[in-house]
Point group: C4
Chain length 279, copies 4
Amino acid sequence: MRALKTKYDIFRQKAYIIIYGSNTFAGRLFDLTLLGVILLSVLLVMLESIEKLDAKHHTFIVVSEWIITIFFSIEYALRIICNKRPLKYIFSFYGIVDLISILPMYLSFFVPGSRILSVIRALRLLRLFGILNLVHFTGQESQLKLAIKASRTKIIVFIYFILVVSILLGAIMYVIEGPESGFTSIPVSIYWCIVTLTTVGYGDIAPVTTLGQIIAAFIMIMGYGIIAVPTGIVTAEFANAKRNDPDMDGKRKCPSCTTIIYNEDSRYCHHCGEKLTHG
Amino acid sequence: MRALKTKYDIFRQKAYIIIYGSNTFAGRLFDLTLLGVILLSVLLVMLESIEKLDAKHHTFIVVSEWIITIFFSIEYALRIICNKRPLKYIFSFYGIVDLISILPMYLSFFVPGSRILSVIRALRLLRLFGILNLVHFTGQESQLKLAIKASRTKIIVFIYFILVVSILLGAIMYVIEGPESGFTSIPVSIYWCIVTLTTVGYGDIAPVTTLGQIIAAFIMIMGYGIIAVPTGIVTAEFANAKRNDPDMDGKRKCPSCTTIIYNEDSRYCHHCGEKLTHG
Amino acid sequence: MRALKTKYDIFRQKAYIIIYGSNTFAGRLFDLTLLGVILLSVLLVMLESIEKLDAKHHTFIVVSEWIITIFFSIEYALRIICNKRPLKYIFSFYGIVDLISILPMYLSFFVPGSRILSVIRALRLLRLFGILNLVHFTGQESQLKLAIKASRTKIIVFIYFILVVSILLGAIMYVIEGPESGFTSIPVSIYWCIVTLTTVGYGDIAPVTTLGQIIAAFIMIMGYGIIAVPTGIVTAEFANAKRNDPDMDGKRKCPSCTTIIYNEDSRYCHHCGEKLTHG
Amino acid sequence: MRALKTKYDIFRQKAYIIIYGSNTFAGRLFDLTLLGVILLSVLLVMLESIEKLDAKHHTFIVVSEWIITIFFSIEYALRIICNKRPLKYIFSFYGIVDLISILPMYLSFFVPGSRILSVIRALRLLRLFGILNLVHFTGQESQLKLAIKASRTKIIVFIYFILVVSILLGAIMYVIEGPESGFTSIPVSIYWCIVTLTTVGYGDIAPVTTLGQIIAAFIMIMGYGIIAVPTGIVTAEFANAKRNDPDMDGKRKCPSCTTIIYNEDSRYCHHCGEKLTHG
């Protein structure tokens, strides 16, 4: 009994290294297999949504989806089993995603048509960020994250500003254009305003009256102008992050105290006074 | 008589603290209630504009709007009463907004259909900026304001330039394309030109002739290129504001001369030579 | 005879000061009048292009246009007469614009319908830059000009790149989509490609086949990405111009040698060693 | 025989200088001729695709295309003959482009309709970058290349992020909107999502339901916001490249130690203390 438990423990430990780690060959192989299966599962959901393909290959697609669902179920079970703190995994973001990406298939036994919800499986694509988590890559990513994090408050103020402006101008355009031009209600007008302000411009709704077109032109120029604001925010952060980045490409380090020498033509270390050689 | 006046004075003072202040619990509660009612009133105007909903719940919506209007009227009266300089409030931006957001409902007694003007109430959403006026937030906002203020002149020149270019190219496109392609008049052509230059591109009007399409392509590339100008202006301002910002996140200050230490690994103050401690 | 000539000379001199200068009251008044008449003339051409308005007020518009044309003709004559180097003016950019903005009206005697060419009068709007030429304004404008000038070569390379990419992808899309989807010829496909690459997206032509949509998505993301290039170019120039700008807002100057003190916490002038005071 | 070989060798050497070089007059002339012929050939393919023009001038166009094809064939043969390492050329990018730009015409003998593939000839336009390869120009180009190269990893992460987001939101929109609104399948929905996220907005597919429009508005604002990310990346790189660029426009160098003097009004070299003269 004890030997069995030990075997089970060893199995759990091995599974943990394979599933969560990526240093061993098996772990790397598992990561790549998972990557492939996730891509395949997303592809399958896509193909199924194309009516012509679904009509032709319905059985093949359904069988494949079941195979993938079972694979994901086993993976989900293993992740719970081999984790020392299974609850933490279950209620983590990835844990929830992993669960709801397999649920719709089982649900389809009871609720017909619920299989369409398996599109949520696409969320598993986010795992790829983790799988492709090379050192260099992460460095870049974290720099991105830092810049975005630092400018978060400004961006929230900015989005709030856009929303208030859109509600105001949307309401005004509703009064000016009226339902005949497609501005059937204020929410629709607000939707149109966001479409215009962000320079997307579908054209499904477009102003017809002269006054409406003048205000629309004003909104466009404003939108064109304020696109500068988020760009300015993020760029300033990037430039800042870059300036403070200690891993700058190919900078000299002081041979004595390993401080990074920012100024290329320094002749003495600014930290310890050690004389520097060029090169 | 005198006691009454004092009571009234105390009431005014209390009302002032609640309405204009946000330090007391009651003041904070009032702010949040106002926030909720403003959001609700905007939502109501939106819902009323949706024909189907209005047909179903007309009485409910009208009654709710009257309740909100009365609430706003009382708030408006209180703001005038408890303010020591009521005229200053009445003719301030917010004072006018507060007034014209309650007027349309009362007007609807005399002029039927004027209730639609209560969409102007959406302007009260701007008060949210004030209500959400946390210290940190304001810091961000004022930095935004500074950057925008500093680049104001450049942006005006820029908008003027866009308008002149649009009039010129709009007139040319009117001559080339003519009314058959939707370019029914020069103002419409100018509208089209702004739609194109700002990369919105509704497609309600689009050039059909070869020459028209060539000029349109030219306008697009130009618009694509000059989008860089406002961005460049604002970004340079942001980067500048960032560099000069003394409240940079968590910078050390010299304990002796309170100079800000920009370089994180400095061991001596670059200003007074005081030895610095890490931490 | 000699007295007459002197009178004529005085008239020419006065006219010169009024027309070309803007320091005297009369000169300023002339500038503002010209500004008004130019705006009016552009407005008239616009209104005439609106069929309904033209039908109603045809006589009024034509008479007004003739009055403006005569005003412009007199102005043109005066500009030639009072200028010491009339040929230089005649063949300058503004001289040519001034001439061709009055020609179409006179031409309409001989060639009916040529009056439409008077839209070229909109070019005179460019004079407004000159008229509004306040000192502060020009400073901003010239900084804009410098930044644009410095990044000119890069922008030309960039536009050339966009054109080559558009021709290539336009040709490919023509082969893939074919005339049925609106890609009737390669030039039209190139036009579509520019419309897409610049994120304008009219939607008058849109890919229908799967392969076409994949390539279109690729073009969009590319266009979305390379919008960064002109922005990056211009922003870097702006930031540079800003850094080198000696008229930076509110910088201290050394009381001894008037050198600008860039570093706010300097205690000695970096140029002459004079001790600086704060504030 | 030997003399002939020598003559042939001289011919090869001369041809090499003319075709590959651009220092001699003949070489320059060849480059410009090639430039003209490439532009002409692209123009011809374009014109042929316009049905009306092709119907009218079919013979003229076909004959011209044959002349150009023969010109290109001779050029291709010469490039192989005079090159000392012909295989390197044949399998180089330009070698393959040169070959496949003449193949379709010869193929059209056997496979009718294959002449349309000669649009691939547009790829030869890329050669123009080489031909216009002036020193100044290249400097600019290489700075562009450096900035793009440095930000490559970040841009790949960014594009990957856009793709994942598009798949996720595309799938969700497919479930919400359904085939009735034009969201016929998940791939089509993803295509729509990219069209929206990049602010292109054709309008061939547009959300109709309220929930769909809310999500669309959210996608637009997100797209509008994240357009800042690539811009921020590239701008930071540009600003960096600019700062580190040793060939900065007209900077002084210290006559003693050749250090670049960044500060224009320095009177002493900041490196070796040499007195500087203004210049």
